[in-house]
């Protein structure tokens, strides 16, 4: 019965193949189901790390956000090939410029990560879990993201705090496709209100410091105070800005380091309040974009000749800000991509308070402002300024701010908020002071998200 024999073999083969494997039984090995990923301690803690990690995007604080603030102003020039950078450098940004949507999306991805945490953390019931700290950090990050959005896309042609335009305000996580439906823009005031509310929570709940070498990489109470001081300075609430800066100063946790270059060379110095950390595995391409080809970079952006010229004679910082031939000494770790980004440092806090006091006026305020300014100048080995008029003092502080914080992502915002952009950068069309909302956002919201005027 030869047939029977073969039939048995075939039948056996069939049985094996159909029972050994269910071909449809396939599950992802590199991801977790979204429903349960963040609702426990390890998940929420990893989610917080993920929320910080959003800052590292090359479209955000990993390069573009802070670089563009100097590129579109006068501290950096476009020396590379990307047409999208060229538009930014020339303040002639078309709404379809891919940098806009990339940055916008990266920031909102960060907001969604923070919102996920903010929604999940209250449900994590674990004695080993520090709810307040995690929630404080998440809300700090959310505040930072929204503030950053306003700085490019919101406000008004007269700066900030002047009945300006806001951005879509989302405070709940996006879980389902329906949650992702478009939201119209809120007003600048509404967005800033959330920023301040989040920061107040952060100030009340964040620890003074975090342990470990990379403690500067997390948001502390001082970071929240300093950030709020910056927000209020931009908003023109000088009393608040001055007081918040004072709280940081009075904490006595920070000092200016002696050597300006050390901030970038040593990293996580005594001057650092909040510093975006990178390591060889989790690296960035900042130096690659900033360095000339001879040093292995792609020379996409360089410090401007204008920036070099703006340094006073003998300013130590020139040796960091503009090296020969024309590159920055702030972002140089091209081999392993571990340059840190100075998100908030003490010199800024000093200048925040100096400027806020100078603007408040009054002899005492002006004197203290002068002395704060001179503290920063002294480190740069510049002679102190004396007995300036209020107007001249504000000019001097802004000039100091330009040099001190050069190519760290402040210049465009400082020019905008002080209504100096049009004059300093020769911008004839005031509408250019707000960047266009990414065309993609306008289109995909079916115009629910309104474009900024003039685009």
């Amino acid at each position: 019965m030869i047939h029977n024999k073969y039939f048995k073999i075939v039948a056996l083969g069939l049985l094996l193949s159909s029972t050994a494997c269910d071909p449809l039984d396939v599950e992802p090995q590199a991801s977790l189901p979204a429903e349960t990923a963040l609702d426990n301690r390890t998940g929420a803690e990893a989610g917080l790390i993920g929320a910080y990690s959003a800052l590292q995007s090359v479209n955000y604080m990993g390069l573009r956000y802070f670089t563009f603030a100097d590129l579109t102003a006068d501290n950096a020039i476009h020396s590379g090939t990307f047409p999208s950078f060229a538009q930014i450098s020339q303040q002639n940004i078309l709404p379809d410029n891919v940098e806009l949507s990339n940055m916008w999306n990266a920031i909102y991805a960060g907001i969604n990560r923070a919102n996920n945490l903010i929604a999940n953390v209250p449900n994590v019931d674990d004695p080993a879990f520090n709810q307040e700290s995690v929630l404080g950090q998440a809300r700090f990050l959310r505040a930072y993201h929204y503030f950053n959005l306003i700085n490019y896309f919101g406000g008004s042609t007269t700066g900030f705090g002047d009945n300006g335009l806001g951005v879509p305000l989302r405070t709940e996580p996006t879980i389902t496709p329906e949650d992702a439906n478009p939201t119209p823009r809120a007003s600048e005031a509404e967005v800033i209100a959330l920023v301040l509310e989040d920061l107040d929570y952060a100030i009340a709940n964040l620890p003074e410091s975090f342990a470990g070498a990379a403690g500067k990489g997390r948001a502390t109470q001082a970071a929240a105070l300093a950030l709020k001081s910056r927000v209020q300075l931009y908003q023109g609430n000088y009393q608040d800005a001055a007081e918040l800066a004072q709280q940081v100063i009075e904490s006595e946790r920070f000092t200016l380091v002696d050597n300006y270059q050390d901030i970038y060379e040593q990293r996580n110095t005594a001057e650092s309040i909040w510093e975006l950390q990178f390591d060889p595995v989790n690296d960035n391409s900042i130096a690659f974009f900033w360095l000339p080809t001879g040093l292995g970079g792609r020379n996409e952006v360089s410090p401007s000749p204008d920036l070099a010229a703006a340094h006073e004679e003998g300013d130590e910082r020139l040796n960091t800000n503009v090296l020969t031939p024309t590159y920055t000494g702030k972002y140089t770790r091209i081999s392993d991509g571990t340059d840190h980004v100075m998100l908030i440092r003490y010199a800024e806090v000093l200048l925040n308070r100096a400027e806020a006091l100078a603007r408040l006026g009054g002899i005492e305020n002006l004197l203290e402002a002068t002395s704060l300014l001179n503290e920063v100048r002294e480190r740069a080995e510049l002679a102190p300024v004396v007995e300036l008029t209020q107007e001249a003092l504000i000019d001097a502080i802004l000039q100091e701010r330009r040099i001190e914080l050069a190519n760290e992502g402040h210049r465009w915002f400082d020019l905008r908020r002080t209504q100096r952009a049009a004059e300093e950068l020769e911008i004839t069309d005031p509408n250019r002071l707000l960047w266009p909302i990414p065309q993609r956002e306008v289109l995909n919201s079916e115009d629910l998200v309104e474009q900024n005027p003039g685009y």
């Binding site: 977790l32 990560r113 992702a180 595995v281 000339p292 080809t293 392993d336």
Partner: protein, 1062 residues
Amino acid sequence: MKKHVLLSMLLMFAIVVQSWGQLNRSIRGQVTSEGGDPLPGVSVIVKGTTVGASTDVEGRFSINNIPADANTLVFRYLGFADQEVRIGERNIIDVTLTASSRSIEEVVVVGYGTQTREELTGSIASVTAEALEDIPVVSVDQALQGRAAGVQVTQNSGTPGSGIAVRVRGAASIGAGNEPLYVVDGVPINTGNYSAIGTGGQQTNALADLNPNDIASMEILKDAASAAIYGSRASNGVVLITTKRGANAKTKINFGYYTGVQETWNRLNTLTGPQQVELYNEMVFNRYGDATGLGFASQADLTAYFFNGFRRARNDAGLWAAVDRPDGLRAVSTFEDPSTAPNTDWQDQIFRTAPISNYDLSISGGNERTKFLVSGTYFDQQGIVIGSAFERANGRLNLDHSISDKIRVGTSLGISRSVNSRIQNDNNINGVVSTALLVASDIPVYREDGTYAKDPGASTENPVAAAVEPTLSAISARVIGNTFAEWDILPSLRFRTTFGIDYLTFREEDFRPTTTNTGAGSNGLGQMSYRQDVSWLNENTLNYNKVFNEIHDFSALVGISYQQSTFNSIFAAATGFPGNDIQQLSAGSIKTDASSSESAWGLESYFSRFNYSLMNRYLFSASVRADGSSRFGANNRYGVFPAASVGWRISEEAFMENLDFLSELKLRASYGITGNSEIGNFDALALVGAGANYLQQAGLAPTQLGNPNLTWEETKQTNIGLDFGVLNNRIVLNVDAYLKLTDNLLLARPLVGSSGFTSVQENIGSMENKGLEFALTSYNIESNEPNGFNWNTNFNIAFNRNEITKLYGGNPYGVGFASWVEEGQPLGAFRGYVVDGIFQTQDEITALNDAAAASTGNAGAVYQSAATSPGDIRFRDLDGDGRITGDDQQIIGSAQPRYTGGLTNNLSYAGFDLSFFFQFTQGNQIYNNTRAFSEGMNGVFGQTAGVLNRWTPENTDTDVPRAVYGDPNNNRRTSDRWLEDGSYIRLKNIVLGYNLPTSLTERVHLQRARLFVQSQNLFTITDYSGFDPEVNTFSGSNAALGTDFLVYPQARTITFGVNIGL
């Protein structure tokens, strides 16, 4: 005589027809082949009736009951020409049939079986081994080009072993795959790009693992009736690849060899070094005017400053003077006297005349019980760009063995290893062709100290360094095999089970030494990737064939199929190497990456097909497949894909009997539903992913929104066809008209970015393809003499109209550089600004700016840019708002051709054979982004000769704008300025061969010896200004089509070869 193995399966179904009319006379006889061998199973039919018989093992037949009015017998046998014999008064008729290669008598491989072409009711194109012979193609998809109507093959570049786009009856998808399903000897294989290392454009092609020499035939299942048996993977058509097998014959040994050279057939005309430097001077002057105004000592100093890396110092007069670089590149003196500038022809530096060769040995044969084929091939190609190469070794063993009359087993096993030496290319400042065009000719190849000279004003790599210095090799090792067992349970019922695998490994080694820009900063950069994709397949079918009452020919098939494919990857990278000699990652002091991943998909399928033929005249077929796919959402896991078709062989009708010249007239119609499941394996799930790390701690972040309703794309295709053969099928015309409606397009629905996500996968769009296909085969001249003159012609032409009929919310979006996806437009449409001439005077500009200020109420508003000057391009204000904004863009063209096709002529006489094959594409456009750089005149990049006609106050009658540093008017924006006609016709192949006379070959104990000379791309007729009109930098893209950007061009190849049969 080909395909006898396959035919043998069909013989048992040969029609045994008895009389059903009036009893009358009887006729008997014997049918033999030209060699005198008896032919069993030949169908012998009294013309115009169903009366007939089939021959027995000795080729004998006997027909009784022949109607009185019968006067002709028709002899039919697969692989042989039909023969009609007048009966006259004879009672014994012996017939000799001649073998035929005419397409209509061919056996065609269909899904899970074979059919003769005359039985077909669907639309299937066949490409036979002859079309592949002697032609130096790397991959089998390349060989399909121009050979089959409605199969559009685009070789995106000349990069050896790179991706090729194949579209069967247009593109049916935007977000899922558009490539057909490839099935090799029954195993649906993994295809596409397995590279983990980006090179800037061209991808790798897993189909390059297959050996074109192994292929007996390729069938392209085009309509739903033929493809629906492959269910959820059939929407883009199915390519069935059948490899050669042994035959019951004396052992044959075939050896083939060819070798030859490849070279560019076209170069771009670039500026000389001095012309380039003159341009730099003009650009800077036009932007900044007089140098002294900027505090510079001279115009040359100012230009030098901009192009030597911004080096300057105050001179004694307190003015800025450019500082020469230590390496002397772009010295100030060259800007003072441009004629002293170096002049490098970068294309000469990177292009070469490159060798290509192929060795192929196959041994086949067998006896009644066992048949075998063993083959080995080695293919070795150097690229026409230095640093690029592709080599591949293949082995094959195909076995068939009959255990008994009823039980057979067999295997098809192909193994391969290929080494692809890749280079960076296309959209990449480290690419070889890219930098050869982007680095200006005033830069020498080497500095005086012998190191590579690098453009001091840009970050582009030195082209020679880009080609020679990095190591980037991709090594693919692969086994594709299928083992089968068949059991004839009953004479009419066959069980078949198969077990197949596709085991692919893909390893990449990448090292950038310190001599390269990318390796310089990090003391060497090394990356290693290992990927493995293992697919297994088990299929079990039952096949039933029976003829009832002589005229009712039934066949039925049921089957089950399981397939699962598991993908694994490992990637690691390191920097900080001790020199450039040790390139393994162990030497790198900083490990910058280490990761692994796994993914998988599975498919569980049930299928069935039913064929019914009535009197060989009325043909009916229906099939259905139910697929369960792991890729789809829980709510939509299973799908059913039915199809049905009918055919009417009008020529078999009695009333057509008198139309003697008409040998075939068949009307076909089919309708069916197929699917497309080529999306990510887990696109339906809401996921939180790992890897969002910070502070050297592990982070999690949401990565994907879920969609439990996600399901396959669905294509409903209607096909109507006509097969028309005259003069005993010397001329055969196939016409097909089709309408393909695709719904449920799997698209990433764009989300507002404020959601934290940019898209979610949904079934949203619709697309339509409709078209006409014509395929003409003509045996123009046929000789009866062995060495007489023969000439046949194949011509095919296809017209496809593609239209996107629905997108999410109707929202259009851009992809690539200028490609645009919009409802009502074809996939591959281009969108951009429209050039409206060149501003000749400042007055024109001022008038427009004033109007813009007036219409917007904003005094600062300008028409285009505040920096617009005479010589700049004026773009058209399409929306009439007085300003040029993003809204002033429109559809400016399309990459979809109006028609494509091919023309092949085969001639033979006295041992010589000549075959030439033209391939053409008409009516498509190319977005030439290369020119946006090489004629952009905005910065440091090398320019092509077109800019010599640039606008100057003296040269105003031109369409090339002025040269101005930084291009503040954005003259080089995406516009119709860069759009060109991409039509072409090219002599894709020409082969001239000579078969040595038998008298000569026998003397050296050879069966056959043939010498040939071949050329590929011998000439191309086109108006396109780039390297090659057959181009796409977005290799593997569905929607970004027809875009040229610094693409590795195709080669012209000339080879000489020999085929020897022992």
